[in-house]
Symmetry: C3
Subunit: 160 residues, 3 copies
Amino acid sequence: MQSDEAYAKLAMAHAFPLGEEIKIGGQYVPVLRDGPWLYVSGQIPRVGDQVQFVGAVGSGPDAVIDLAGARRAATLSTLRALTLAKSALGSLAAIRSVPRISVFVRSTPDFTQQSEVADGASEALYAVFGPRGVHTRTSVGVLQLPKGAAVEIDFVFGVE
Amino acid sequence: MQSDEAYAKLAMAHAFPLGEEIKIGGQYVPVLRDGPWLYVSGQIPRVGDQVQFVGAVGSGPDAVIDLAGARRAATLSTLRALTLAKSALGSLAAIRSVPRISVFVRSTPDFTQQSEVADGASEALYAVFGPRGVHTRTSVGVLQLPKGAAVEIDFVFGVE
Amino acid sequence: MQSDEAYAKLAMAHAFPLGEEIKIGGQYVPVLRDGPWLYVSGQIPRVGDQVQFVGAVGSGPDAVIDLAGARRAATLSTLRALTLAKSALGSLAAIRSVPRISVFVRSTPDFTQQSEVADGASEALYAVFGPRGVHTRTSVGVLQLPKGAAVEIDFVFGVE
């Protein structure tokens, strides 16, 4: 249950509501278990109904979100994924590995610190899981994201 | 065989040619089975040799494709993937799950309805597979796609 | 050991240093084995500390990298992935399949040959693995990449 406690602590530190509801039904789902894998759909930094970070990340006239904001957006996206995983599994203790995350950063044309943005997700996974939260990742800079979000991240977890 | 019939019906509704040939050989392949997983390469809305939807999705002077067109492009990309899967497996009845699809939408700078575009894929999967076609997905807006296509989607299927 | 020799030959042909060190530790890793899968984080065409191809791929005033350069960048990214896989597994002979690669090409707005860029990766995989290196792939054109790299590729390998 150590991971669940670390999750609760991280969520509180980011004013992220615990136990946010998992939307079930429809033609796609936010989280799906298939054998030893738990897939989480691309998560944006939404808290309740509000997307917290909307805009392009970078500097210059087109930029709305700076690096610090984007990292926090990556943390919130990760908190959403953890909330979904916990709802699906009962406890985050059931997660034994995090083989892959893909981090999409809505970027201004000159912004090249997508990896530094992704650190906001990597740090959150490490805070919750410790060494078993170490993962591979891919970070890219894209033109747009759903609802204009600054960051979108999808996850593959290994489960027991 | 229910899925095969639903596939045939969907293909006809979209004037999509049944039994389009699967290109084999070369250094990469459109479809590959590995253990219990069937991977499908990124599919664009090509019918025969023609890409049906070329251009950026959105509104404004740069946009060529509107939301309705983009959703139809997502459906055609999905039909291609189903055709490839059927060729590889003999029948779509062998597919037991759809853990992940990734939907890349060639977008104008202001277009943020990538999820709504992806619904064109999700609805097609549900029409063919019913509840076992429910999947996780990630939708992002990108600057360009191969051959200028409006949409590209890749798939991971679970097979028996 | 045939794959190891083919790898060494390809690396030498591209002046790629053999046995480049694998960075271990931190909150994410470049390579992670999970059951029968080996995941490799998104790789850019870095040799030592230098990213070899920085800039947008295409033609026109915004383009810095042409198709030939971008293909070579894709080959270098693949060599990095192979180096990481070899470090993790001891020998590339342990790789039995390559189910998926995702190829992100930093593109100018009008560049649509992302598939042709990806051929630089596909050819490298075939040169090293032969038929068991045949894979599925997805190629997209993105606005930016970490450190301004021209290409980023991630990999899923099947291992024995």
